[in-house]
């Protein structure tokens, strides 16, 4: 028997495992996908001319295997990281698409993540209580602040201190500086809109590796911007480069891969869980693993699937689901609300060197310093300003020597900014299990029923209006504007299906991420989120994981779970 089982090895599972191992617990990490080896499994060594098919995934493969994933970031060198949709089906109602973007392998989506790392603010933790949507968070910013610091120091976050209450500062490495085009953009926006800020993105790339990073074999970022292929330098945080190696060096970690967790085993006599049932993804053999504590970090939808599939006589609606809140309040961020522009007046004598793995960020201002027009909550923008490269004008007519001459010339400064908007927790946006369909491993497939509501639609409109206004204020000519947000799921920020809350009747988890109904069950992936904020959520998942691991180990020591 292990002290703890951690289901899932991605962003939150890696952090849960590390924190539990460092507290002396014998930990088993169960990963449903195949093994991956840091460095060896990556494709970051391929030069452009070595990448197959000019970086494109074969069209028939996309159509056959990646009907959903193709709308995300899949390329030839990253193809290995994305699930085949035809082998991992789920259902959505007609007219309500939801893009479930996934990676099943050791390290999960921590290998492919965008690395943007922002704290939620005091306002975010109070939002549900303030406007009445969702369950009130059982913690406030001050409860999580030290854990944000703890995680930031460990993973390494490059960023600038700005003193903004809506985007609290953290323990930062030096920021990746804004280029001259971005400084021009910043000056224009902040002059026209004095309460808006344009700042360097905060990213989990080691601008300057610290000794504790180097101890794990991680080195400073080489500005290659090949992060999505995996980084052999370990210059960005992932489970493979960072948290699992830290867990491993304690001597307390066991990892098994290719084991799909079918359900969690609940003992009605004690009211506790005793372990998990798994199915080998290759042989279909069933196994059982036992532990004193179970952490579910299978990702928001995966965790809900496991809970709902863990029905028992004592818990007929699924494990820890007396409230009927498991699977509900599915959220993602409004995504792909982009505005692009060019800047004829940009600094023509300026360029930059290196491919920065990051961009700029415009923190939330709506319903902070400026009112929202018909919506609650708010949004931030991510983007960048850069010189158009050889692709500039490639779509314009012209052949021969003149085309080559055009490609050589530095292009104009170009900007895109893309809004990330908060989606409200709505119990009707939910994950359930199909009563009839099962996957190839005999597990009921997930049905996802999720759509944007009036608040999201009003917010989307203003995101695009504000984006255009800022582009123009900075001297840009708007050349492209999105018409509508991408389908829910495409931001790959799904969360909320086993939300934290004060009231067991309206939430699944308490202030320690402990199931209200099952004292030795902890959930610290995106499922735990009571609201989404508008910030990229991975940092919060990791902070919640570290905090919950601390409390779980304390409870174990005290004999209360």
């Amino acid at each position: 028997m292990f002290d703890a089982i951690v289901v899932g090895s991605g962003m939150s599972g890696g952090m849960s495992a590390k924190e539990l191992c460092e507290r002396g617990l014998k930990v088993l990490v169960i990963e449903r996908g195949r093994n991956m080896v840091h460095g060896e499994s990556y494709t970051d060594g391929l030069r452009p001319w070595e990448v197959p098919n000019a970086g494109m995934v074969p069209e028939e493969d996309l159509a056959r295997h990646y009907k959903i994933q193709k709308d995300s970031f899949i390329t030839a060198p990253t193809q290995q990281y994305w699930v085949k949709d035809d082998e991992n089906p789920y259902e959505t109602p007609v007219g309500k698409p939801f893009a479930w973007i996934r990676g099943y392998h050791l390290g999960g989506r921590s290998i492919m993540w965008g690395r943007q790392s922002y704290r939620l603010s005091a306002q975010d933790f109070e939002a549900n209580a303030t406007d009445g949507h969702g369950s009130d968070w059982p913690i406030r910013y001050d409860d999580l602040a030290p854990w944000y610091s703890h995680v930031e120091k460990f993973i390494g976050v490059a960023g600038s201190k700005e003193g903004l209450p809506q985007l609290p500062d953290g323990e930062f490495l030096p920021a990746f500086g804004l280029n001259d085009g971005e400084l021009m953009f910043k000056a224009g926006v902040e002059k026209a809109f004095p309460t808006r800020k344009v700042i360097p993105g905060r990213t989990a790339n080691l601008s300057v590796a610290q000794p504790h990073h180097e101890e794990l074999g991680r080195t400073s970022c080489q500005a290659r911007s090949l992060c999505d292929r995996g980084c052999s330098y370990g210059a960005y945080h992932s489970s493979l480069s960072s948290s699992l190696p830290a867990a491993e060096r304690t001597g307390n970690l066991t990892i098994i891969t290719d084991q799909i967790v079918h359900s969690v085993i609940h003992d009605p006599k004690t009211g506790k869980v005793t372990g998990v049932r798994t199915i080998d993804q290759n042989t279909r053999a069933g196994k059982t693993f036992e532990a004193k504590v179970v952490f579910l970090n299978a990702s928001t939808i995966g965790t809900a699937q496991i809970l709902l599939n863990s029905k028992s006589e004592a818990m007929p609606r699924g494990l820890a689901n007396g409230s009927d809140m498991v699977g509900r309040n599915l959220m993602d961020h409004l995504f792909a609300l982009s505005v692009a522009g060019i800047f004829p007046g940009g600094p023509q004598d300026s360029f930059y060197h290196g491919r920065r793995p990051n961009g700029l960020y415009i923190p939330r201002f709506r319903n902070v310093t400026e009112a929202g027009d018909g919506f609650v909550r708010g949004y931030g923008y991510q983007g960048g300003v850069s010189r158009m490269g050889w692709r500039a004008g490639m779509g314009q007519p012209g052949i021969g020597a003149e085309l080559k001459a055009r490609a050589r010339k530095l292009g104009p400064w170009f900007s895109y900014i893309s809004g990330f908007g908060e989606m409200l927790p709505n119990p009707d946006n939910r994950v359930t299990l199909s009563p009839t369909k099962k996957d190839q491993w005999g597990i009921p497939v997930v049905e996802v029923n999720c759509q944007h509501g009036p608040n999201e639609r009003a917010m989307s409109k203003q995101i695009l209006e504000d984006g255009q206004a800022m582009m123009k204020a900075a001297g840009g000519i708007v050349i492209s504007v999105a018409k509508e947000p991408g389908d829910p799921g495409l931001a790959i920020h799904e969360m909320g299906t086993a939300c934290m809350g004060k009231d067991p009747k309206t939430s699944v988890l308490n202030k320690y991420n402990q199931a209200h109904e099952v004292p030795n069950l902890f959930i610290t992936d995106g499922a735990a989120m009571a609201s989404s904020g508008c910030q990229n959520p991975s940092l919060t998942y990791m902070a919640l994981s570290a905090r919950a691991a601390h409390h779980a180990s304390e409870f174990l020591k005290a004999g209360t779970i």
Partner: protein, 209 residues
């Protein structure tokens, strides 16, 4: 035996001509290049179509003071894309785009495109390119980020794709990335502001910028 010793005299003359800056390659040499680049490899296009593709690629990206599409082996790479990447519909679209160019040459010059002189090819393809890339009302029904990244709808999407792939294959090649553009696989760090000089060249790679 070295690769060099396998070359016949004509091949050497042709390659020397490229090194001396010949603007584009005459028809007979194109066929030779097409045969040479595909020799021994599994291929999709017939020799005649590979010659036609070589002529089109050489016209879009000729040898200048740097290698052109032929020097960067774009026809063979394009053929490999047809084999390994393109869907059946895409193959039809791209072969159709090549055929249309040849048909235009037959209609205008009574010769196949590859049989024209380099100057004739350029004279024909320049207005063809302008007409094919003319913007038209967008009826593609694209959504979200895909719509933003797709670029405007154009009069001849088949030609636009053919042209785009030729250009991509060229600028992703080692030849282009070491002569036309600059590519450092590992720049070593980020410097946010660098003064532009007459020697400054655009950077390349698979990313957008």
């Amino acid at each position: 035996m070295t690769a060099l010793s396998l070359m016949d005299r004509r091949t050497l003359i042709e390659r020397a001509a490229w090194l001396l800056g010949a603007a584009a390659v005459p028809g007979e040499a194109l066929a030779r290049v097409a045969r040479g680049t595909a020799r021994g490899a599994r291929r999709f296009l017939t020799p005649a179509r590979l010659t036609l593709l070589s002529a089109v690629a050489d016209t879009i990206i000729p040898q200048t003071d740097t290698p052109g599409a032929l020097g960067a082996h774009v026809p063979a790479k394009f053929d490999a894309l047809l084999l390994n990447w393109a869907s059946p519909q895409r193959k039809v679209e791209l072969v159709g785009a090549l055929t249309k160019i040849n048909d235009a040459a037959m209609a205008q010059e009574k010769k196949g495109f590859a049989a024209l002189t380099p100057d004739q090819r350029k004279a024909l393809l320049t207005p063809y390119d302008i007409a094919a890339l003319k913007s038209v009302p967008d009826t593609r029904g694209l959504k979200g980020m895909v719509a933003m990244m797709a670029g405007p709808a154009v009069a001849d999407p088949g030609y636009a794709k053919l042209r785009e792939l030729i250009i991509l294959l060229y600028y992703y090649s080692e030849e282009a990335l070491t002569t036309e553009l600059v590519y450092e696989h590992s720049p070593g760090g980020w410097t946010p502001s660098v003064k532009v000089t007459p020697e400054t060249r655009n950077t390349g790679g698979l990313g957008m910028f």
